[in-house]
């Protein structure tokens, strides 16, 4: 088995601040994802990466940057934190398999609070 570790678990920042969330996986999976979870709205894809140094925008990429410098890690930066983006950010990984069939494995999340 493997694990996805997200740090920090809780992140508090000031409005306008640049904030970075980190994710590490030891599954040796190719693909990694960042999702934003807002209460009652399901999960929305921010960025994903199918291999080291690859980045693909999701539906919610505006206001965020991502970085995949190693296969095992994927970082997300909130470029200018806003109060309306307080949410839980979930990192996930999967094997790059037959398109659409991948099982995602999730971390336990980073809860972002903006003051």
């Amino acid at each position: 088995g493997g694990i996805i570790t997200q740090t920090p678990k809780f992140l508090i920042g000031q409005e306008g601040q640049k904030l970075t969330l980190k994710c590490q996986q030891n599954f040796n999976h190719d693909t990694m994802y960042w999702y934003r979870q807002d209460s009652g709205k399901g999960l929305r894809l921010i960025y994903y990466s199918i291999t080291e140094n690859d980045l693909q925008k999701g539906d919610l990429s505006e206001g965020y940057d991502a970085s995949r410098e190693k296969k095992s890690s994927f970082s997300l930066t909130v470029t200018s934190a806003q109060k309306n983006e307080m949410a839980v950010f979930l990192c996930a990984s999967s094997i790059w398999g037959a398109r659409g069939t991948e099982t995602l494995y999730f971390g336990s999340g980073t809860r972002l609070t903006v003051l």
């Binding site: 399901g42 398109r99 659409g100 995602l104 971390g107 336990s108």
Partner: protein
């Protein structure tokens, strides 16, 4: 375009009762279908998935789901719930481009 609707935001049942959580999808092709569960303060975990074949698929912990092409549905069922099943359940679909999640159903099981 694809979309997923979970019409019940919250469901409360008594321990030992049967359960059905509803999921309706919209897609131009038959998608791959998933149910994930999120226990408190944890990430999501896969319960079960459907690609093709028998429309009833079995998952972990006694859960099953039934695919209906005519109704565009993928409802989750359990014959007898336990208090430990209290969690948020997400239906998700993938028609080949990306995974789209429903808004989730929060299940509370009363002892």
């Amino acid at each position: 375009a694809q979309s997923v609707t979970q019409p019940d935001a919250r469901v409360t049942v008594s321990e030992g009762a049967s359960l059905q959580l509803r999921c309706k999808y919209s897609s131009s092709v038959t998608p791959y279908l998933f149910w994930y569960v999120q226990y408190p303060r944890q990430g999501l975990q896969l319960l079960l998935k459907y690609y093709s074949g028998d429309p009833v698929v079995q998952g972990v912990n006694g859960f099953e789901a039934e695919f209906s092409k005519s109704n565009s549905s993928f409802h989750l069922r359990k014959a007898s719930v336990h208090w430990s099943d209290s969690a948020v359940y997400f239906c998700a679909v993938n028609a080949g481009a990306k995974l789209t999640f429903g808004g989730g159903t929060r299940l509370t099981v009363r002892p």
